[in-house]
Symmetry: C2
Subunit: 183 residues, 2 copies
Protein backbone atom coordinates (compact mmCIF):
# COMPACT_ATOMS: atom_id res chain seq x y z
CA UNK A 1 0.00 0.00 0.00
CA UNK A 2 1.03 3.55 -0.53
CA UNK A 3 -0.22 6.70 1.18
CA UNK A 4 -0.19 10.31 0.05
CA UNK A 5 2.98 12.33 0.13
CA UNK A 6 1.87 14.50 2.99
CA UNK A 7 0.59 11.51 4.91
CA UNK A 8 3.97 9.85 4.54
CA UNK A 9 5.67 13.00 5.74
CA UNK A 10 3.38 13.06 8.75
CA UNK A 11 4.14 9.44 9.42
CA UNK A 12 7.83 10.19 9.25
CA UNK A 13 7.45 13.07 11.66
CA UNK A 14 5.44 10.91 14.03
CA UNK A 15 8.04 8.16 13.91
CA UNK A 16 10.86 10.57 14.66
CA UNK A 17 9.00 12.16 17.52
CA UNK A 18 8.14 8.81 19.08
CA UNK A 19 11.65 7.52 18.47
CA UNK A 20 13.35 10.51 20.01
CA UNK A 21 11.20 10.19 23.11
CA UNK A 22 11.46 6.43 23.46
CA UNK A 23 15.19 6.46 22.92
CA UNK A 24 15.69 9.03 25.62
CA UNK A 25 13.48 7.03 27.93
CA UNK A 26 14.75 3.50 27.36
CA UNK A 27 18.08 4.05 25.67
CA UNK A 28 19.00 3.44 22.06
CA UNK A 29 19.74 -0.23 22.58
CA UNK A 30 16.68 -0.47 24.81
CA UNK A 31 14.05 0.06 22.16
CA UNK A 32 13.39 -2.24 19.24
CA UNK A 33 12.08 -1.30 15.86
CA UNK A 34 8.64 -2.68 16.56
CA UNK A 35 8.34 -0.75 19.79
CA UNK A 36 9.11 2.36 17.78
CA UNK A 37 6.66 1.35 15.08
CA UNK A 38 3.89 0.61 17.53
CA UNK A 39 4.38 3.95 19.26
CA UNK A 40 4.03 5.61 15.88
CA UNK A 41 0.99 3.49 15.02
CA UNK A 42 2.39 1.35 12.26
CA UNK A 43 4.08 -1.97 11.60
CA UNK A 44 7.79 -2.27 12.16
CA UNK A 45 8.45 -3.07 8.54
CA UNK A 46 7.27 0.38 7.57
CA UNK A 47 10.20 1.93 9.33
CA UNK A 48 12.50 0.13 6.94
CA UNK A 49 10.67 1.56 3.98
CA UNK A 50 11.33 5.01 5.34
CA UNK A 51 14.77 4.66 6.87
CA UNK A 52 16.35 1.48 5.56
CA UNK A 53 17.93 0.46 8.84
CA UNK A 54 17.71 1.10 12.53
CA UNK A 55 21.03 2.88 12.42
CA UNK A 56 19.70 5.36 9.91
CA UNK A 57 16.60 5.90 12.01
CA UNK A 58 18.75 6.48 15.07
CA UNK A 59 20.72 9.12 13.23
CA UNK A 60 17.61 11.05 12.32
CA UNK A 61 16.01 10.57 15.71
CA UNK A 62 19.08 11.87 17.51
CA UNK A 63 19.22 14.88 15.21
CA UNK A 64 15.51 15.39 15.76
CA UNK A 65 15.85 15.25 19.52
CA UNK A 66 18.71 17.71 19.47
CA UNK A 67 17.03 20.12 17.09
CA UNK A 68 14.62 22.74 18.39
CA UNK A 69 11.58 20.66 17.47
CA UNK A 70 12.38 18.07 20.07
CA UNK A 71 14.66 19.83 22.46
CA UNK A 72 13.29 23.32 22.71
CA UNK A 73 16.44 25.31 23.09
CA UNK A 74 15.46 28.86 24.01
CA UNK A 75 16.73 31.68 21.81
CA UNK A 76 17.04 34.21 24.53
CA UNK A 77 17.66 33.28 28.13
CA UNK A 78 19.45 34.14 31.32
CA UNK A 79 22.18 31.69 32.18
CA UNK A 80 21.17 31.22 35.79
CA UNK A 81 17.58 30.45 34.88
CA UNK A 82 18.72 28.01 32.28
CA UNK A 83 20.94 26.21 34.78
CA UNK A 84 18.19 26.16 37.36
CA UNK A 85 15.75 24.61 34.94
CA UNK A 86 18.29 22.14 33.71
CA UNK A 87 19.19 20.99 37.20
CA UNK A 88 15.61 20.92 38.47
CA UNK A 89 13.86 17.81 39.80
CA UNK A 90 11.33 18.22 37.01
CA UNK A 91 13.95 17.86 34.33
CA UNK A 92 15.54 14.98 36.17
CA UNK A 93 12.27 13.08 36.34
CA UNK A 94 11.33 13.48 32.69
CA UNK A 95 14.17 12.20 30.56
CA UNK A 96 11.87 11.41 27.64
CA UNK A 97 11.33 15.09 26.95
CA UNK A 98 14.56 16.31 28.48
CA UNK A 99 18.09 16.98 27.35
CA UNK A 100 19.21 14.43 24.75
CA UNK A 101 22.84 14.84 25.74
CA UNK A 102 22.22 13.67 29.28
CA UNK A 103 19.93 10.88 28.16
CA UNK A 104 22.06 9.45 25.37
CA UNK A 105 25.68 10.50 25.93
CA UNK A 106 26.83 7.19 27.38
CA UNK A 107 25.51 5.27 24.41
CA UNK A 108 26.62 7.68 21.71
CA UNK A 109 30.24 6.60 21.92
CA UNK A 110 29.13 3.19 20.71
CA UNK A 111 27.07 4.43 17.78
CA UNK A 112 27.91 4.83 14.13
CA UNK A 113 29.84 7.77 12.78
CA UNK A 114 26.71 9.40 11.43
CA UNK A 115 25.05 9.38 14.83
CA UNK A 116 28.15 10.68 16.56
CA UNK A 117 28.54 13.43 13.98
CA UNK A 118 25.09 14.75 14.67
CA UNK A 119 25.54 14.49 18.38
CA UNK A 120 28.83 16.35 18.15
CA UNK A 121 27.26 19.11 16.12
CA UNK A 122 24.59 19.45 18.78
CA UNK A 123 27.16 19.71 21.53
CA UNK A 124 29.05 22.34 19.61
CA UNK A 125 25.87 24.35 19.18
CA UNK A 126 25.06 24.19 22.86
CA UNK A 127 28.60 25.19 23.80
CA UNK A 128 28.35 28.19 21.50
CA UNK A 129 25.04 29.12 23.06
CA UNK A 130 26.35 28.84 26.60
CA UNK A 131 29.53 30.60 25.64
CA UNK A 132 27.59 33.60 24.40
CA UNK A 133 25.99 33.98 27.82
CA UNK A 134 29.19 33.97 29.80
CA UNK A 135 30.38 37.26 31.36
CA UNK A 136 31.51 39.54 28.56
CA UNK A 137 34.46 40.67 30.63
CA UNK A 138 36.19 37.41 29.80
CA UNK A 139 38.17 36.67 26.68
CA UNK A 140 36.44 34.47 24.08
CA UNK A 141 38.72 31.59 24.88
CA UNK A 142 37.94 31.78 28.57
CA UNK A 143 34.24 32.04 27.90
CA UNK A 144 34.32 28.91 25.82
CA UNK A 145 36.26 27.09 28.50
CA UNK A 146 33.71 28.09 31.07
CA UNK A 147 30.95 26.95 28.77
CA UNK A 148 32.63 23.58 28.23
CA UNK A 149 33.09 23.04 31.95
CA UNK A 150 29.54 24.15 32.68
CA UNK A 151 28.10 21.79 30.09
CA UNK A 152 30.07 18.89 31.52
CA UNK A 153 28.91 19.75 35.03
CA UNK A 154 25.30 19.97 34.05
CA UNK A 155 25.24 16.75 32.07
CA UNK A 156 27.14 14.87 34.73
CA UNK A 157 24.92 16.13 37.52
CA UNK A 158 21.74 15.23 35.68
CA UNK A 159 23.01 11.78 34.77
CA UNK A 160 24.15 11.02 38.30
CA UNK A 161 21.01 12.46 39.85
CA UNK A 162 18.95 10.15 37.67
CA UNK A 163 21.03 7.09 38.36
CA UNK A 164 21.15 7.40 42.10
CA UNK A 165 18.44 5.69 44.12
CA UNK A 166 18.32 8.00 47.10
CA UNK A 167 16.13 11.11 46.74
CA UNK A 168 18.25 13.14 49.14
CA UNK A 169 21.53 12.30 47.47
CA UNK A 170 19.97 13.00 44.10
CA UNK A 171 18.72 16.40 45.21
CA UNK A 172 22.10 17.15 46.79
CA UNK A 173 23.89 16.49 43.53
CA UNK A 174 21.63 18.91 41.71
CA UNK A 175 21.85 21.57 44.38
CA UNK A 176 25.61 21.37 44.83
CA UNK A 177 26.15 21.63 41.11
CA UNK A 178 23.74 24.55 40.86
CA UNK A 179 25.65 26.38 43.57
CA UNK A 180 28.96 25.56 42.00
CA UNK A 181 27.86 27.05 38.68
CA UNK A 182 26.39 30.25 40.04
CA UNK A 183 29.30 31.03 42.35
Amino acid sequence: MRVSKEQAAKNRERILQAASRLMREHGIAGVGVDALAEAAGMTHGSLYSQFGSKERLVEEAVAYAISAKGGEVPEDFALDDYVSDYLSPGHRDEPASGCPFAALACEISRQSRGVRDRFTAGVRGTIALLSSRMPSTLKPRQREDKALAAAASMVGALVLARAVNDPKLSADILRATRNSLSG
Copy 2:
Protein backbone atom coordinates in the same frame (compact mmCIF):
# COMPACT_ATOMS: atom_id res chain seq x y z
CA MET B 1 28.83 -31.92 36.10
CA ARG B 2 30.34 -30.48 39.20
CA VAL B 3 33.68 -28.81 39.87
CA SER B 4 35.52 -28.10 43.08
CA LYS B 5 34.43 -25.33 45.36
CA GLU B 6 37.42 -23.21 44.54
CA GLN B 7 37.03 -23.88 40.84
CA ALA B 8 33.44 -22.67 41.02
CA ALA B 9 34.56 -19.57 42.85
CA LYS B 10 37.19 -18.92 40.21
CA ASN B 11 34.60 -19.33 37.47
CA ARG B 12 32.34 -16.92 39.22
CA GLU B 13 35.15 -14.44 39.54
CA ARG B 14 35.98 -14.82 35.85
CA ILE B 15 32.38 -14.27 34.84
CA LEU B 16 32.11 -11.15 36.95
CA GLN B 17 35.36 -9.75 35.64
CA ALA B 18 34.38 -10.36 32.03
CA ALA B 19 30.88 -9.04 32.64
CA SER B 20 32.06 -5.86 34.34
CA ARG B 21 34.40 -5.15 31.44
CA LEU B 22 31.96 -6.01 28.68
CA MET B 23 29.18 -4.05 30.27
CA ARG B 24 31.33 -0.97 30.54
CA GLU B 25 32.39 -1.39 26.95
CA HIS B 26 29.08 -2.18 25.26
CA GLY B 27 26.54 -1.10 27.82
CA ILE B 28 24.31 -3.26 29.97
CA ALA B 29 21.67 -3.67 27.29
CA GLY B 30 24.42 -4.12 24.71
CA VAL B 31 25.72 -7.47 25.91
CA GLY B 32 23.78 -10.70 25.88
CA VAL B 33 24.15 -13.59 28.26
CA ASP B 34 25.92 -15.72 25.72
CA ALA B 35 28.43 -13.01 24.94
CA LEU B 36 29.16 -12.90 28.66
CA ALA B 37 29.36 -16.68 28.85
CA GLU B 38 31.67 -16.94 25.88
CA ALA B 39 33.97 -14.29 27.31
CA ALA B 40 34.13 -16.34 30.48
CA GLY B 41 34.69 -19.57 28.56
CA MET B 42 31.44 -21.36 29.24
CA THR B 43 27.98 -21.90 27.85
CA HIS B 44 25.28 -19.35 28.44
CA GLY B 45 23.17 -21.80 30.39
CA SER B 46 25.87 -22.07 33.01
CA LEU B 47 25.43 -18.48 34.02
CA TYR B 48 21.93 -19.35 35.12
CA SER B 49 23.28 -22.04 37.39
CA GLN B 50 25.28 -19.38 39.17
CA PHE B 51 23.12 -16.28 38.96
CA GLY B 52 19.60 -17.30 38.01
CA SER B 53 18.92 -14.30 35.81
CA LYS B 54 20.67 -11.61 33.88
CA GLU B 55 19.39 -9.03 36.29
CA ARG B 56 21.07 -10.80 39.19
CA LEU B 57 24.27 -11.05 37.21
CA VAL B 58 24.11 -7.34 36.40
CA GLU B 59 23.75 -6.52 40.08
CA GLU B 60 26.87 -8.43 40.98
CA ALA B 61 28.82 -7.21 37.98
CA VAL B 62 28.04 -3.59 38.78
CA ALA B 63 29.06 -4.10 42.38
CA TYR B 64 32.21 -5.84 41.18
CA ALA B 65 33.10 -3.03 38.81
CA ILE B 66 32.62 -0.45 41.53
CA SER B 67 34.52 -2.38 44.16
CA ALA B 68 38.29 -2.07 44.36
CA LYS B 69 38.85 -5.34 42.51
CA GLY B 70 37.51 -3.91 39.31
CA GLY B 71 37.81 -0.22 39.76
CA GLU B 72 41.05 0.23 41.65
CA VAL B 73 40.20 3.16 43.83
CA PRO B 74 43.40 4.36 45.46
CA GLU B 75 43.49 4.56 49.23
CA ASP B 76 45.79 7.49 49.41
CA PHE B 77 45.97 10.11 46.71
CA ALA B 78 46.32 13.79 45.92
CA LEU B 79 43.14 15.28 44.57
CA ASP B 80 44.77 17.05 41.64
CA ASP B 81 46.51 13.90 40.46
CA TYR B 82 43.29 11.97 40.75
CA VAL B 83 41.43 14.51 38.66
CA SER B 84 44.20 14.60 36.07
CA ASP B 85 44.16 10.85 35.69
CA TYR B 86 40.40 10.75 35.57
CA LEU B 87 40.20 13.39 32.89
CA SER B 88 43.09 12.02 30.84
CA PRO B 89 42.83 10.81 27.23
CA GLY B 90 43.94 7.40 28.42
CA HIS B 91 40.98 7.04 30.73
CA ARG B 92 38.67 8.37 28.08
CA ASP B 93 39.83 5.81 25.55
CA GLU B 94 39.54 2.78 27.81
CA PRO B 95 36.02 2.64 29.18
CA ALA B 96 36.19 -1.13 29.68
CA SER B 97 38.65 -0.74 32.54
CA GLY B 98 37.62 2.78 33.49
CA CYS B 99 35.19 4.42 35.87
CA PRO B 100 31.95 2.44 36.07
CA PHE B 101 29.97 5.54 36.93
CA ALA B 102 30.85 7.26 33.69
CA ALA B 103 30.34 4.11 31.66
CA LEU B 104 27.02 3.00 33.13
CA ALA B 105 25.32 6.01 34.72
CA CYS B 106 22.90 6.64 31.87
CA GLU B 107 21.66 3.08 31.94
CA ILE B 108 21.50 2.68 35.70
CA SER B 109 18.34 4.75 36.01
CA ARG B 110 16.56 2.06 34.01
CA GLN B 111 17.83 -0.89 36.02
CA SER B 112 16.29 -2.81 38.87
CA ARG B 113 16.31 -1.58 42.43
CA GLY B 114 19.12 -3.93 43.38
CA VAL B 115 21.39 -2.57 40.69
CA ARG B 116 20.58 1.00 41.55
CA ASP B 117 21.16 0.36 45.23
CA ARG B 118 24.68 -0.87 44.59
CA PHE B 119 25.41 1.95 42.21
CA THR B 120 24.18 4.47 44.76
CA ALA B 121 26.35 2.96 47.46
CA GLY B 122 29.32 3.27 45.14
CA VAL B 123 28.58 6.91 44.45
CA ARG B 124 28.27 7.62 48.14
CA GLY B 125 31.63 5.99 48.76
CA THR B 126 33.31 8.03 46.07
CA ILE B 127 31.75 11.25 47.36
CA ALA B 128 33.05 10.46 50.82
CA LEU B 129 36.49 9.81 49.41
CA LEU B 130 36.56 13.03 47.43
CA SER B 131 35.10 14.93 50.34
CA SER B 132 37.95 13.83 52.58
CA ARG B 133 40.43 15.34 50.15
CA MET B 134 38.86 18.76 49.96
CA PRO B 135 40.59 21.68 51.69
CA SER B 136 40.32 21.20 55.43
CA THR B 137 39.62 24.87 55.90
CA LEU B 138 36.07 24.31 54.72
CA LYS B 139 33.18 23.09 56.80
CA PRO B 140 32.17 19.45 56.32
CA ARG B 141 28.99 20.48 54.57
CA GLN B 142 30.91 22.64 52.12
CA ARG B 143 33.45 19.94 51.48
CA GLU B 144 30.71 17.50 50.63
CA ASP B 145 29.09 19.99 48.30
CA LYS B 146 32.38 20.55 46.53
CA ALA B 147 32.85 16.81 46.27
CA LEU B 148 29.39 16.37 44.79
CA ALA B 149 29.94 19.08 42.22
CA ALA B 150 33.38 17.75 41.37
CA ALA B 151 32.06 14.23 40.86
CA ALA B 152 29.33 15.52 38.58
CA SER B 153 31.84 17.54 36.60
CA MET B 154 34.22 14.67 36.14
CA VAL B 155 31.58 12.15 35.13
CA GLY B 156 29.95 14.59 32.76
CA ALA B 157 33.22 15.59 31.15
CA LEU B 158 34.30 12.00 30.62
CA VAL B 159 30.93 11.01 29.20
CA LEU B 160 30.82 13.95 26.81
CA ALA B 161 34.46 13.56 25.81
CA ARG B 162 33.74 9.96 24.88
CA ALA B 163 30.58 10.74 22.98
CA VAL B 164 31.93 13.55 20.89
CA ASN B 165 33.44 12.71 17.53
CA ASP B 166 35.97 15.50 17.23
CA PRO B 167 39.34 14.91 18.94
CA LYS B 168 39.90 18.59 19.56
CA LEU B 169 36.50 19.20 21.10
CA SER B 170 36.93 16.07 23.17
CA ALA B 171 40.31 17.22 24.46
CA ASP B 172 38.93 20.69 25.12
CA ILE B 173 36.16 19.30 27.29
CA LEU B 174 38.67 17.41 29.40
CA ARG B 175 41.07 20.32 29.66
CA ALA B 176 38.45 22.92 30.48
CA THR B 177 37.00 20.72 33.19
CA ARG B 178 40.44 20.00 34.59
CA ASN B 179 41.15 23.72 34.83
CA SER B 180 37.76 24.41 36.32
CA LEU B 181 38.37 21.88 39.09
CA SER B 182 41.87 22.98 40.00
CA GLY B 183 41.07 26.70 40.01
